[in-house]
Each structure stands twice: as structure tokens, then as C-alpha cells.
């Protein structure tokens, strides 16, 4: 009985705080994406000829986002029946978009006009629990093209 109570409390805490964190994060992502829309980010390997006199440098952005207890349980149940794991989809979506935003902020600080050759690197950080997904790390990196004055 006591164990069930603990489980239900954790589930409720995870659901409540997890939901709150997720909706707050999405709001911030959408607002910042609007602000940074003028900075082009492309996965193209070669920049167009227009950028041939720009300086270039590596820019990176990374984020580690943790699952909440509710997501862990929901994904565990989903594992029994198969199908889309919505709980983890939104987690990864948030992490990717946040990583791109941080990379863009890095590029904007350098005065860049565009970021080319965008690449992602995703890795999971296992928790004490061992098997389950603890948290996920996403790194976004690319080459920022910075206009050089006087050329």
C-alpha cells in the first residue's frame, strides 16, 4: 500500500511539473525562434557563391534535458504495446530545437549572417536506474559565416 502511494505521488509530481516545464519550454522556444529567424541555418555542405568572402568559424549549441517520472512510466507502458512513444518524441523535439537556438545565439554574438553544414549529435545519459532513458543530450554544430568588413 505504501509503495503504491509513493508511486502515485511520484507519478502525479512528474505529470504536474513535467507538463509545466514542457509548456514553459515550448513557449520560450517559439519566442526565441521568432527572434532568430533572420539568421539562416542550413544543412548544405557548401555555402553559395554569395558567401565567398565571409570569414568562417565553428559554432556549437548543446543542451541536456531530463525525462520526468510520468514520461518514464508512459514510455514503459508504450513499450508493452508498441507504437509511437509521444512522451519521448516531444522530449527530443525540445532538445533539438533548443540546441539549434543556442547555436544560433552563439553565431549571432559573432555577428554571423548564416550557419552552414548543420550537424546533430544525440546521446543518452543513462541514470542510476540503468536501463531506462535518464536524460538526453543534443549537440548542434555548424560553420558560421561572418561578413568581413573592408573587403
Amino acid at each position: 500500500m505504501g509503495q503504491l502511494l509513493v508511486f502515485l505521488t511520484l507519478l502525479a509530481l512528474g505529470y504536474g511539473f513535467g507538463r509545466l516545464a514542457e509548456s514553459r519550454h515550448y513557449r520560450s522556444i517559439i519566442a526565441r525562434e521568432d527572434a532568430l529567424r533572420s539568421l539562416l541555418v542550413m544543412p548544405d555542405r557548401m555555402p553559395p557563391i554569395h558567401f565567398q568572402n565571409h570569414g568562417s568559424t565553428l559554432v556549437t549549441g548543446s543542451v541536456v534535458i531530463s525525462v520526468d517520472y510520468f514520461k518514464t512510466v508512459a514510455a514503459g507502458l508504450r513499450g508493452l504495446f508498441g507504437g509511437r512513444v509521444g512522451a519521448y518524441e516531444s522530449l527530443l523535439d525540445r532538445a533539438r530545437r533548443e540546441a539549434i537556438l543556442r547555436m544560433q545565439e552563439d553565431a549571432r554574438k559573432l555577428g554571423a549572417e548564416a550557419v552552414f553544414n548543420l550537424k546533430f549529435e544525440t546521446s543518452r545519459i543513462a541514470q542510476n536506474a540503468g536501463q531506462g532513458l535518464g536524460s538526453v543530450e543534443v549537440l548542434a554544430y555548424g560553420t558560421a559565416l561572418i561578413p568581413v568588413h573592408g573587403r
Binding site: L10, N53, S56, S66, K71, L139
Partner: protein
Amino acid sequence: MLISNMEVVPGKKITTHLGLVQGSTVRAKHAGRDIMAGLKNIFGGELKGYTELLSESRDEALQRLSEQARTLGANAVINVRFSTSSIAAGASEIFVYGTAVIVEDR
């Protein structure tokens, strides 16, 4: 040291290829952070401590990469790629590699 993950450097010409250079680092987080992360696993949200730790390790790996390139006499590293792997519970390896080259203004 110019570091880029493209195959070309805009406005510059690659005169010499000096081969592969790499840098890596293995980092573990301390127990206090681990406990905080355990709590976060219930509530969800960003693990700022881990984000910082991993970006510090990445800077360290990049530092080693450019040191190696400098000893080869390169002035740029192109085609840089990152790779992350968790080798044990609580420790992860950050590996970065690229091609050391000498570039000149066109």
C-alpha cells in the same frame, strides 16, 4: 586557428593537407550533481549542470585538437566532427576530429 566543419574555407585556398588531428576527453560529474539529476528525473526539465559539464569537455577536446594541429604547423582545421559516447555510468567521452590544413588568402 581557424576551425570549421565545412570542406572548404570561403575566400581562402587550401595549399597543404596535413592529415587527421583529434582531441578527446573523458569527464565524470560529481556525486552532488548526480543527486540533483536524480531529482530532476522525477520533475523533468533541463540539467544545467550537465549541459555546462559537457560544453566544458567539448571546449577541452577542441583545445587538444587545435594544439595537435599547431604542432603539425597547420593554421586551420576543417571538416570537424564531434562524437559522444558514455563509456561507464556517470562518465562520458567527448571526441572531436578533423583535417589539419594550411590555408592561404586567395
